[in-house]
Amino acid sequence: MNDIVFKGIDTPNLRQLAVYEANGGYAAVRKALKDIKPDELIEMVKQSGLRGRGGAGFPTGMKWSFVPKVSAEPKYVVVNADESEPGTFKDRELMEKNPHQLLEGIILAAWAIGSHKSFIYIRGEFAHIAKILEAAALEAEARGYLGKNIFGSGFDLDLVIHRGAGAYICGEETALLDSLEGFRGQPRLKPPFPAVKGLYGGPTIVNNVETLSFVPFIVNEGPAAFRKFGTEKSPGTKIFSVSGPVKKPGNYELPLGTPLRKLLEEICGGMLGGHELLAVIPGGSSVPVWNKDYLDVPLDFESVAAKGSLLGSGGVIVMSSKTSMVAATLNLTRFYRHESCGKCTPCREGTYWMEKVLGRIHRGLGMPGDLELLLDLCSTLEGRSFCALGDAAAMPVRSSILMFRDEYEARIREAAGGKTPETAGSR
């Protein structure tokens, strides 16, 4: 556990450059700027099999290789530190405790694609972390590790830390870019993908904090060392953020492929007293929920998808028998309704409508046919919205109805209590 990015995470004062350096920090950048050509670096990351930790799991080396070698417009590295997915809190700890590891990752990414300007787009509420990052960047710059002529290599890289203003959608990479440029945070039409035409029209890579934090290790130890962990298709480790009524919730870095049961029962110490496991959302709020029958699924991208959910951001949300699934789903739907950017019809209207229907079921005013209506609304939303937020809003609803239909039906039966469907419908 805690083999790579969380290694020594609790070392006192790790935020300070001297401490970070004493623990082997900045060796990767030193080495790369001197001995590794940008193309070779991209190749190393490709070989490591590192996949994005922001949710989609896209191969990082491949993403970098899409950036054109020559470009009339400046190229950019943008770090997605918007971490707003309910149930996900890993980037926060990485940045709070080990900011220099991220800075190192940024410099390596910039070196690989030939960028001289980078941005960290950080969730607005993380004001104190923005300060930590700023302090780290200042220290690095003062030492010549950032800014002009890094480590005397002649390579320049500026870093701007930009705070978001509180919108979940700004974690979607293109909405993030629009927000960074000063526009309304709404996703952009793709193609063109950011790697070709991103920030201010220049080729841009957008990577998650955790993703970039892995890069120094890959440079220092080599791709093979990274591949020692995890599975063939999901190599390496990943941070799982566990929340809910388990004995030891928190962030744990584990090899991909670790079974859910091991995470919950061994590492988190099982359920709190008086709680019985009811449901788990394995990858942050935006993925389908499981009931307790899925404990033996290995937590890697492929295995989780094969069992009908997604690994997503690795936010493992545990719910117990004391949780009402109707209430939990309503709560999530309210979140998506609130965060829907409003650009596309199905998500703007669908989340609003779904919340209304779930709301009336929850308040004991559900109507016969409401579940079919909800499932219908899910199918007119899934795969039809502009960005993945729409799918994300539908998945919890559909999956919780599929897995916990009894609870929903009981609620609706109570509501109809004696009334005919017709009179129940006409309030």
């Binding site: 309704r337 409003g342 019809t345 199905p346 609003y352 007119t380 899934e382 795969g383």
Partner: protein, 837 residues
């Protein structure tokens, strides 16, 4: 240009081959398959927001949006499969969640995309049973009314305003289902009031205050015809309810503008049915004009022409360039053939009208359609505030600057809109157009190879000193170099020029320099003339030195200035004013007054009483474009049909009918059974106009000068450098504003709301220096006299140069400016400060 790669794919079982990059919605259209759209729009980049265009793409697993999907080799699409229909039906149901069911009282009802699509997809009601959200209806200024309840948040209005018009007056605020349209600051719209947002709104969320509740679409008799203001030649549907025109709308127009209109085109429909129109012929009796019979009025005119001829005095004519080609053609036949006089012109505002050979050289350049702007490599706009005066060209250029950073050079004395966004600006000093043109020509020639005109031009320009050009124009050699590099950075290029260049005192040399620039750089050359049919007036030979079709006149006659000068000195027997008012438009108002007073006989044909008509001996009521069939030719040289959309007012007559009756009165055997017979003659006699037909918009053809080849390099004279502005004054220029055009629009109430009267536009820094504030009433004193005007900050002004639009009777620009130059140094004093609440 390389030929685009062709791609073949299948839509609904039929194959279609289209250039790579073609959007599915367009490819489907080629097969006659309509895919519904709301958020996408042909002028806008795809957005993909509304999702109504979802269709099935085989092997994709989920529906794709046809408005952003491109044709791909071998791809198979279905627009009517179960997946596609289900997806679209779902979107329709979502769109109706919060949409009120008020079609019966909605202005858009009957012309609504949402209504149409909802019929098509069989959605009558929604399963949504909760309360719909509701908003108050708000006025966003004098033109636009917003009903947010009907808005489907497609963002078309916002994007059109921002991307195409460059105004950013509208925005979406809040997010999610709270998303709603608002103005930038929540107040009134601060924009060109073009109303295109209303036009592109697929529902009735944005409606037009002037038209609101005036009619339902099915009550309207709608006729598509051509706008009569500027030379862009937009087409629109004029809607008439009973006797009155109640709206102009370009939705589904077939014009070169497609659905674009500027504020004056959209709101300039009132004047034809204004109660102030002239209804009857009038004859001067005892010092005033009295109603008369047509036969008497025409009889007097015929006798006057006969008298002039027998007295050996000149018969002369000045025409409006808003008249139709047919009117203009017969007018020149009347003057040349029947009255045997070569003295006619239509250019009233130009101080130095272009000589015939130069006009012919311009005509030798091939026509360039406005649609070509979409694929141009680069452009130069010289001496033309194209967004203010030629709005279709203006927005077309602005769009390319926004969407693909098309390299554009703008040369103008004021910081005009396009210059603010252009890659390169040449803000020359007012009056130094020629020095600026010479500087740019010198730079352009220096970049080019040794052969052909470039060589000749380089030799000519080699001797010009940069110091003189720089001090003459107020620009630096580096600025000229940058402008030249910008123009050369694109493949295919075009040079546009307009009113400021044409009205300059050194216009002929300026135009020669522009011809040289085009020759040297291989650019197309496009003059943007003032009025809706300026091009036709040139083509029809309403000129002292060219016959129809650019043939040199055997004995050149007098131009406007010469006609007026000769008239003032008693040499003119008859002065025909065919819709032309030299008192309003000729730079030397005193000379024009003298000319009208001293002519033996003045015959005025006009729509309204004007200063000139009231000095005439006989005044005849002319039909307006809205009551006329015929043709007009726009700046693309496209000969478009005019169609009458309203009943003639009173006893008004078409110009060509009046000229025919005068000619027969004078003994000619003219006899046109109808307009078609006259057009037949024009086609036969003017080979250029073989294209004359009953079409409009892109279907109408642009003429090409038969057998023309590009002219040779032109010698360019050296101008005089303008003097520095006199102390205590501000240099001010005049022209058309976006809200009006010439003097006709002062008869339109809506346009008067947008710009109510004489106005001085000032840059903020100049206003501050002169201690003037928005809304102040100021006294302007210039070489021509004094006028009073309201102060407005911004607009097409500055810095260091004011702008005084020329539209209002009693305060015409020629009462303020002197005859010498189109700008003057004006003394400005505050009469009364604006009342600020």
């Amino acid at each position: 240009m390389t030929e685009p790669k062709m791609v073949t794919c299948t839509i609904d079982g039929r194959t279609v081959t289209a250039p790579e990059g073609t959007l599915l919605t367009d490819a489907a259209k080629m097969l006659g398959i309509q895919i519904p759209i709301f958020c996408s729009h042909h002028r806008l980049k795809p957005l993909g927001a509304c999702r109504i265009c979802l269709i099935e793409k085989e092997k994709t697993g989920k529906p794709v949006i046809a408005c952003a999907e491109m044709v791909a080799e071998g791809a198979v699409f279905h627009t009517q499969s179960e997946m596609a229909l289900k997806a679209r039906k779902g979107i329709m149901e979502y769109l109706l969640v919060n949409h009120p069911l008020d079609c019966p009282i909605c202005d858009e009802g009957g012309e609504c995309d949402l209504q149409d699509t909802s019929y098509e997809h069989g959605i009558g009601s929604s399963r949504f049973v909760e309360m719909k959200r509701s908003f108050d209806i708000v006025d966003l200024g004098p033109i636009v009314v917003l009903d947010r309840n009907r808005c489907i948040v497609c963002a078309r209005c916002v994007r059109y305003c921002n991307d195409i018009m460059g105004d950013s007056a509208l925005t979406i605020e809040e997010r999610g289902f709270h998303s709603q349209i608002n103005t930038r600051d929540g107040g009134e719209l601060e924009c060109q009031q073009c109303g295109n947002c209303i036009e592109v709104c697929p529902v009735g969320a944005l409606t037009s205050r002037p038209y609101r509740f005036k009619a339902r679409p099915w009550d309207l008799k709608q006729t598509e015809t051509v706008c009569n203001f500027c030379s862009n030649g937009c087409t629109f549907h004029l809607g008439r309810r009973e006797g009155t025109l109640v709206r102009a709308r370009a939705k589904k127009s077939h014009g070169v503008n497609r659905d674009f209109l500027c504020a004056r085109g959209r709101y300039g429909y009132e004047f034809p049915t204004s109660p102030e129109r002239l209804h009857f012929p009038r004859i001067r009796q005892g010092g005033s004009l009295q109603r008369a019979e047509w036969s008497d009025a025409l009889g007097q005119a015929v006798r006057a022409i006969q008298a002039a001829r027998s007295a050996g005095k000149a018969v002369t004519a000045l025409a409006s360039a808003r008249l139709s080609n047919e009117d203009l053609y017969l007018l020149q036949r009347l003057v040349r053939e029947v009255a045997a006089s070569p003295h006619l012109d239509h250019r009233l505002e130009q101080r130095a009208p272009l000589p015939g050979p130069l006009l012919k050289s311009l005509a030798a350049f091939p026509a360039l359609p406005v649609s070509a702007i979409a694929t141009l490599g680069s452009a130069l706009v010289f001496g033309e505030d194209v967004n203010e005066e030629q709005p279709l060209y203006g927005t077309s250029l602005l769009r390319e600057v926004h969407y693909r950073r098309m390299p554009v050079v703008v040369a103008h004395s004021r910081r005009v809109r396009l210059m603010q966004e252009a890659a390169s600006g040449l803000p020359y000093r007012p009056g130094s157009e020629l020095a600026a043109a010479r500087g740019l020509l010198k730079s352009l020639a220096a970049h080019q190879g040794a052969a052909g005109p470039a060589e000749e031009v380089r030799k000519m320009t080699a001797g010009w000193s940069w110091e003189a050009l720089a001090s003459g124009s107020g620009l630096t050699e580096a600025q000229f170099e940058k402008a030249a590099a910008t123009l050369y950075s694109g493949g295919s290029r075009a040079i546009y020029f307009g009113s400021q260049a044409l009205r300059a005192a050194e216009a002929p040399d300026l135009v020669r320099a522009l011809i040289d620039m085009a020759l040297v750089s291989g650019a197309s050359l496009v003059p943007l003339w003032d009025r809706s049919n300026s091009q036709g007036a040139l083509d029809m030979g309403v000129l002292p030195d060219l016959l129809p079709g650019y043939e040199a006149a055997p004995a050149p006659g007098w131009n406007t200035a010469e006609i007026l000068r000769r008239s003032a000195s008693g040499e003119v027997g008859v002065l025909i004013l065919a819709g032309a008012d030299p008192l309003a438009h000729f730079p030397d108002r005193k000379l024009a007054e003298n000319a009208l007073r001293k002519a033996d006989f003045v015959l005025s044909l006009d729509l309204f009483e004007t200063d000139a008509s009231e000095m005439a001996h006989v005044s005849l009521p002319l039909r307006s474009y809205a009551e006329s069939d015929g043709s007009v030719t726009n700046s693309e040289r496209r000969v478009q049909a005019l169609r009458s959309a309203a009943n003639p007012v009173g006893e008004s007559e078409a110009g060509w009918r009046i000229f025919e009756r005068l000619a027969t009165g004078l003994g000619s055997a003219w006899n046109y059974a109808d307009l078609l017979a006259l057009q037949e003659e024009i086609r036969a006699r003017v080979p250029l106009y073989k294209v004359l037909g009953r079409r409009m918009g892109p279907a109408a053809t642009s003429w090409a000068l038969p057998g023309a080849s590009l002219p040779g390099a032109q010698p360019v004279g050296e101008g005089k450098a303008p003097a520095a502005a006199a102390a205590g004054t501000l240099r001010v220029e005049s022209g058309n504003s976006i809200f009006h055009h010439g003097m006709l629009s002062q008869h339109n109430k809506v346009q008067l709301k947008l710009l109510p009267g004489p106005t001085l536009f000032l840059a903020a820094e100049d206003a501050a220096r002169l201690r003037l504030a928005e809304g102040d009433l100021a006294l302007l004193e210039g070489p021509g006299g004094k006028v009073e005007a309201r102060v407005k900050i911004g607009g097409p002004s500055g810095p260091g140069v004011g702008f005084y639009p020329d539209h209002f009777a009693g305060a015409e620009a020629n009462r303020l400016f002197g005859p010498e130059s189109p700008f003057a140094d004006i003394k400005i004093s505050t009469l009364s400060a604006a009342v600020h609440s």
